[in-house]
Symmetry: C3
Subunit: 410 residues, 3 copies
Amino acid sequence: MNNIQIKDLIKHQKINHSLDRPFYVNDKIFDLDIKNIFSKQWVFVGHTSRIPNIGDYFLFDIGNESMIIIRDKENIIHAHYNVCRHRGSHICLETEGNKKLLLCPYHAWSFNLDGTIKSARLMEEDFNKDEWSLHKCNLKVFEGLIFINLSENPCDFEEFIEPTRKYIEFHELGKAKIAFRKIYPTDGNWKLALDNFHECYHCQPSHPEYCSVHDPEYILSYGAGSGTGPASEKFNKILNEWNEKVKKLGHLTGEYAEKEFNKYSRSAERTPLKKGKFTETKKGKPIAKLMGKFKEYDRGYTSVGTSPFNSLLMCNDFATLFTFIPKSTLQTDVELIWLVHKDAKEGKDYDLSEMIWMWDETTKADKRIIEDNQKGVLSSKYMPGPLSQMEKGLEKFKSWYLKHLELALD
Amino acid sequence: MNNIQIKDLIKHQKINHSLDRPFYVNDKIFDLDIKNIFSKQWVFVGHTSRIPNIGDYFLFDIGNESMIIIRDKENIIHAHYNVCRHRGSHICLETEGNKKLLLCPYHAWSFNLDGTIKSARLMEEDFNKDEWSLHKCNLKVFEGLIFINLSENPCDFEEFIEPTRKYIEFHELGKAKIAFRKIYPTDGNWKLALDNFHECYHCQPSHPEYCSVHDPEYILSYGAGSGTGPASEKFNKILNEWNEKVKKLGHLTGEYAEKEFNKYSRSAERTPLKKGKFTETKKGKPIAKLMGKFKEYDRGYTSVGTSPFNSLLMCNDFATLFTFIPKSTLQTDVELIWLVHKDAKEGKDYDLSEMIWMWDETTKADKRIIEDNQKGVLSSKYMPGPLSQMEKGLEKFKSWYLKHLELALD
Amino acid sequence: MNNIQIKDLIKHQKINHSLDRPFYVNDKIFDLDIKNIFSKQWVFVGHTSRIPNIGDYFLFDIGNESMIIIRDKENIIHAHYNVCRHRGSHICLETEGNKKLLLCPYHAWSFNLDGTIKSARLMEEDFNKDEWSLHKCNLKVFEGLIFINLSENPCDFEEFIEPTRKYIEFHELGKAKIAFRKIYPTDGNWKLALDNFHECYHCQPSHPEYCSVHDPEYILSYGAGSGTGPASEKFNKILNEWNEKVKKLGHLTGEYAEKEFNKYSRSAERTPLKKGKFTETKKGKPIAKLMGKFKEYDRGYTSVGTSPFNSLLMCNDFATLFTFIPKSTLQTDVELIWLVHKDAKEGKDYDLSEMIWMWDETTKADKRIIEDNQKGVLSSKYMPGPLSQMEKGLEKFKSWYLKHLELALD
């Protein structure tokens, strides 16, 4: 399939239907996706609390790329490509650890934590150390979230973060720490994983845990974000009443959505949990230290999407962060990080299993669902079906994706 | 390799030699095979006794296709593509089972057992249920055998079954039941598996079990069917004498072969087992209830081929059915089903291990043989070798195959 | 990538830098390498002591090719392609063994040990046995080393072996036997494995075992052969003194290197081990029977390269032989054979674990190093880095390789 054929295919996608098979199974389109969609977004890949000390690092791998996310001696965090500038060996071989120096295990070229070269033995006279620093990847830290951008000309970070800034700042994630981290390797195309994440039509049949925590009218109307399902007068009433109360507390309310097509796909909103629930657990009782600027429990739920590849779903006392990492045409890693207040102590201030229960069960179910979806989409008989009233979020994601891909092919 | 190159290659195949390497290793040719050969044949994929009750189903998988073979409320058997019409998820996840309703596990769209849609929640107003039944595959049941045909314009089933009808009917397979079923996954191209099945030149060196049950002169002359080896006066004499006796019993005799090239590749014949053998077991003694219209044991063996992908090898008291399922260029599943009289009881009326012994041992040996053949055919030094007098069946299959492929490329 | 693009890429390779990524990862280039580089060299694949008796054989596999290296009734060693001339089955299924006859397990065609056909049952009248001998591969035995050449027009063996002849003969490998054999499957392109073998810049950081046996000045200057590192006056002095002594003993001294580009890439030299070491073991004490024409221990080390794919590293009392076998673009087998005097007895005359220690540990480390190198080279950020003064051997190998490939593309 060449670019002209792909552009033609884009034109033939039907409104309010899922995508045609090639978008979910074709290797050429996958490569275009990585180059034109994933690599142009600011994607968060971790939290600063994972590398609290000088020299702490972890690797972030995508496809054939490996990046060393490391804290240098000035407490600045860098993303270096894990590729020695001499003959190309990986430098860090363990997934995470601490390094005083980035020493290549092959020929012992050494690099400082900031990526500049420290020493290379026995080089020729014309060797200029300054030219052989490690390749760098754009990196920004915002409220403890480590964002990278693989583009040569990344879009402006401040512009990018502006609309979601106050939602994230209210939760003070920069004063949080990782309580748990888990990767769910999923045998499905990244767009099937995101289709799944952008609609809550499947929540009622597939996610009893999710449905036990959230109000049915919320799920119907807001399950995958504001405007992703049919309007619900009942829920609007609940929301309005809750907004009044929360404003009085001086807490944040409101929502954000992109008004017109642009290079970003951001969203944010604050909504109440199901009646009687204070947080997103089985019992719904407060389970950890209050985070951020909350003075007391307001029963609210803050949902933020910074790009299709990241979501932050935040209660008053803990936050669940999602990163979707396309691995290959038919493989996607879904990484979840649970954050709590930096001073909270496991066992004393929070019960880990209770805290991760809902999203762990839900993400395991989604892994299975996406894999069964992929199997069917591989069939010659698969054809895009009509979307329900509860899949408007998927349609929105799909149209954003198609426009991006089309522009990239021009 | 493009179609012109393939047509050219077809023209250069030598009479009485095996095929050139690309036919056994090339992915493009494999895809053409599936599309033009396998998908245009009526292939049996199971027996009705596997799904005796309303709602019983099993899956038949080939390549990326999965089909639900299911018995509906009117006792009609259907083959539905296992692909939800909404977003494409597999509907049935287990290999076999019983369903009251075909409920998609993703978003709970539900389908009746006949494939029509039952319910879909929250669809838009213009949604027309009638347009979204499950995709159907052609299916016919004949004497308990479930045949499917993946073509959009399948050839006429009655015309297809006519010449082998009386042979199958005499054994009354519709009154039989599955005693055992086993799949032999084989790492070789489907044509290497069928080359193996179409000649008995390898029987003497490779299949002591087979040779203990069948007469050496039969193996020489009829091992892979009438006319697949050199004529044997000795066996003709044995056959004539046996025919006389059997006619007197009122049992069926005779044989069928295609007279000229056509879209089918069918064969049938009745021959006697080795002297002293009543059935195809180690001891050769009757081991199960007489099947079909047999009044008494006639020591006969009924061999039927309905297409290259299916064979029925039937004794008086049990039948062994073969299905060859191309999985990928270098992988083929060989599925064997042993049928007995529906009223026969294991342990009382028949001993299972004795019954399956010969074809189980022989098929395990063939799996190994085909895999070693494939390894050699991958070598750059492989070239088609001359066929012996006992490989006329292979030559016949090969020429049928080449003509079909050539016509498809026109 | 087509041939013109590859030729263009060859032109753009920078002197004194490693190769561009495609040379290490591209399937098309790998196929060209096998066809034009590996298949045109005389490569040794074993030692006659592995098959001492008539009918003894072992298989040598490369890619989809399998070769039977077998000793016939006249004590002549042959390399037959392991492909039956009838329908192509592999004939020998075990890695090694003894055969009275090469009997195909499929249809029992039989071949004599010299590859001529012995019998084929029931062939047509026009069948001419003489036309269906096994396909042969060029094979030469020199001093017990079994060399094969996959070319249709192999270069002259005598011309090829001439410059290294006296070095190999002095060790009388024809009077040796295999003490141990081990394969190190390595997930890296064959050129990354050979880059590693052609420089000793990595020895100091990565190979403590190697460095304990060899003099630091030798490693610096001669680690990957004469002229592969910067000149060392210290080592030249050591070498000159040692040469004087050794000449008096009547032992061999000197070195050989290709003077100008040609189809071969051969080298040879004799150098002293580290002071106090008699042989290449942890303790450095003599550990086995003296081999070859040595009258007494001369503390020497004979390094011979017959092609990039083979090296012989020989002490006075044992020899370590290397064969690099490209398996696929990203896979290489490194096979090591340790030879001792044919009359030496394990446990009595030599301690096996002591003898293999250095090269076993070193090759396990190199396997890991090469694999980590390959991972980094797959990154989009890999680019050829500058070579050090100790990587002149790599540069030489690289330029020989590029010229060969360029000539093949003309």
